[in-house]
Symmetry: C2
């Protein structure tokens, strides 16, 4: 299917803003300075600022993915999914996303707050920079979506309508392949350095591990629990400090659909694991490694706290408190399972994480091996987990042995 | 919303058949004898037979439910869902449904094989009539839909498209309310005879029981595993004998949607439980009670056998055999949980079952109590079940104590 819509250019943006009523009041088109900042692989991204310092960010989907050449077309409707994610978050979790200025469905253009003064969380973590509080923000962000977009809050027919409207097969298929399948097959997308081979082979030949990943994959494909972000790794979070407290905002929600809540928790947990392994490999100071080592519990505690705060407001009064305790436990275990899958694919498959990739030699091998072994233990042992510290203890033990 | 479509009458049917090309060859409109057989609560049902003895059955949805007065409007689009169920079964499980002659979406008319010589299974069970083999047929019917309409067989985008197209909120809401919610609330739909009161109160005040029912309800609302029948009780199965072997055909699939496979198994299990309690109360002969007491295992064994036969054909090769064993165990436990819910609601809530309702006095109280207590144990103990005999042993024990 061919796509025919006009791509934005820096020169065309003042007129586009002036001609779009919901945007015209936010910045002065007459004095707008525009800078293209995206890498242009998936999307065009423009940072715009007027003479008064007021800003706006425009993001437009390209109808293909440049990462693997223009031969991989990808529906620009992923911007429709991303807008759906922002719409929901703007209603129910506005403090945890950029200010949201809406969507142009004809040209697949999203408009939002300019965050060019902020940092991508992964970059900050890689540099050893602390933003304490971001882990709390992200736990609350997941909780808000989990509560407000689910049966806990929505009337049944609205819920069913949203589930049907939010199917996002093309983007979900990328996740299904990259996270749950390709790491366990011989596939062009996979690669690892020679020293990591033993840990990769361990996973592949572990039938119990593969069976659990199968189960998590089918759960990802069939459990329409709530609208989830769908790709909530540390590269999808923008951070900044406000005094002693860090703040985080989730971006890039194009993978959003009705799926398992634990998948968003797991994206965070799995990427925290990579950050932990890197911090150990880099020999970061104790305050940093201590903070990074507690990110899983920080996010979990905030998620749980926010859910407990919202629970009494549920519209579905029949759901009792004991059910809620069971539900929380399931979310923890799902988060551990999906977290393991997310961590592992970032070591073996396409789209590796810089946390581990930028380590050299033995340090890389040790960190990558620790992530794989921890991820597998999270997946296989999750049914017995009762606390977020269960995840952290395994990570600490394995990283200590491998990296220490 | 008002509905404006022409309802069928016996007089109008020959012309309707003659004017509908896919039907015209099946019977001779010129000699067609038409008899209205439905109770007219939900649907008009016409049995038609020509001079050569060839038959056809037409079923048309009414735009309301007469059961509780015409004040309860119900979308005639439930016929669209029913047709979707027949379409899928005609492709993948044709021997377990009536021959299917298609759907008229403008007038909500379904055309199928005339089964007026067959018996409703519940009626046969109530009368103590054996149709050995029907339980096997129904297990295979559930397995075929579970396999062919799920990720096991369908390509991902087709699966996602079918999930979205099959949402059936109005009918699902009836199930959600009647099966999972109303039995535990003070509601006009509920009633029971005085002697049953203690067992009803036990359930209602058992927080663990209610929490498990909550969990099953949310699973029913969110787990889009496969296209399921959605209302597969013994009143939705037509039976006949062929020599020593009974055969069953599933009808009335208007509740069909993408949901948990265990819900169809559970509908059978829960209604088998009612039949077991009745057989004990009536003091049926040992061959009958033995057969009825083994229906759960009969259906389960056929389901499992059919799934094992189909499993090697899965298109999703990545799913390994250990995953499949886990999946089977989950289906058994889900079947037990949903079966408990289905059995209980048939005692407490709207639409009670004749199996138990037509018992009198102490026999009614004992049978109803046994169904409630067995159902609750299935629900609460299911996480430890490893075999279908676990369900049957509990049922035998409880029925023995209550009814024996």
């Amino acid at each position: 299917m061919g796509w025919d819509y006009m791509l934005l250019t820096p020169e065309a943006i003042p007129a586009y803003v002036a001609g779009t009523p919901r945007l015209a009041g936010l910045v002065d088109p007459a004095t707008l300075q525009v800078r293209e900042v995206g890498d242009g692989n998936l999307n065009l991204v423009f940072v715009c600022r007027d003479a008064d310092g007021r800003g706006i960010c425009l993001k437009q989907s390209l109808p293909y993915v440049r990462l693997v050449g223009e031969s991989w077309p990808l529906t620009p409707h992923r911007a429709t999914a991303e807008a759906r994610g922002y719409d929901a978050a703007a209603e129910w979790a506005p403090e945890f996303i950029p200010a949201w200025y809406g969507f142009d469905p004809d040209r697949f253009i999203l408009a939002m707050e300019n965050l060019d003064h902020e940092t991508i969380w992964r970059t900050a973590l890689n540099e050893g920079l602390m933003h304490p509080g971001v882990e709390d923000d992200m736990g609350r962000y997941v909780a808000r979506l989990a509560f407000y977009t689910s049966v806990f809050n929505l009337e049944q027919k609205e819920l069913k309508g949203r589930i049907a409207a939010s199917v996002n097969p093309e983007l979900c298929e990328i996740t299904e392949n990259l996270v749950f399948t390709e790491p366990y097959l011989d596939h062009d997308h996979n690669s690892w350095r020679p020293g990591v081979e033993p840990a990769v082979m361990e996973l592949r030949h572990d039938e119990r591990h593969v069976a659990e990943v199968n189960s998590l994959k089918v759960q990802f494909m069939t459990a329409a629990e709530a609208l989830i972000h769908g790709d909530l790794h540390t590269g999808s979070v923008m951070v900044e400090m406000d005094g002693d407290r860090g703040h985080g905002k989730a971006i890039d929600s194009e993978f959003c659909f009705y799926g398992p809540v634990g998948f968003d928790l797991g994206a965070l947990f799995g990427n925290y694991l990579a950050a932990m392994a890197r911090a150990a490999a880099r020999g970061r100071p104790a305050d940093f490694t201590g903070w990074v080592g507690g990110l899983v519990s920080g996010t979990w505690a905030a998620f749980e706290d926010e859910m407990r705060r919202l629970w009494p407001e549920r519209s579905h009064r029949f759901l009792n408190d004991l059910y809620f305790e069971d539900w929380l436990l399931k979310m923890l275990r799902d988060g551990a399972g999906f977290g393991g899958c997310k961590a592992i694919r970032r070591i073996i498959g396409l789209a590796k994480v810089s946390d581990i990739e930028t380590l050299d030699g033995d340090a890389h091998v040790a960190a990558a091996t620790a992530v794989l072994r921890t991820g597998s233990r999270w997946i296989k042992e999750r049914h017995g987990f009762t606390s977020s510290s269960d995840l952290e203890e395994i990570a600490r033990d394995v990283i200590g042995v491998e990296v220490g």
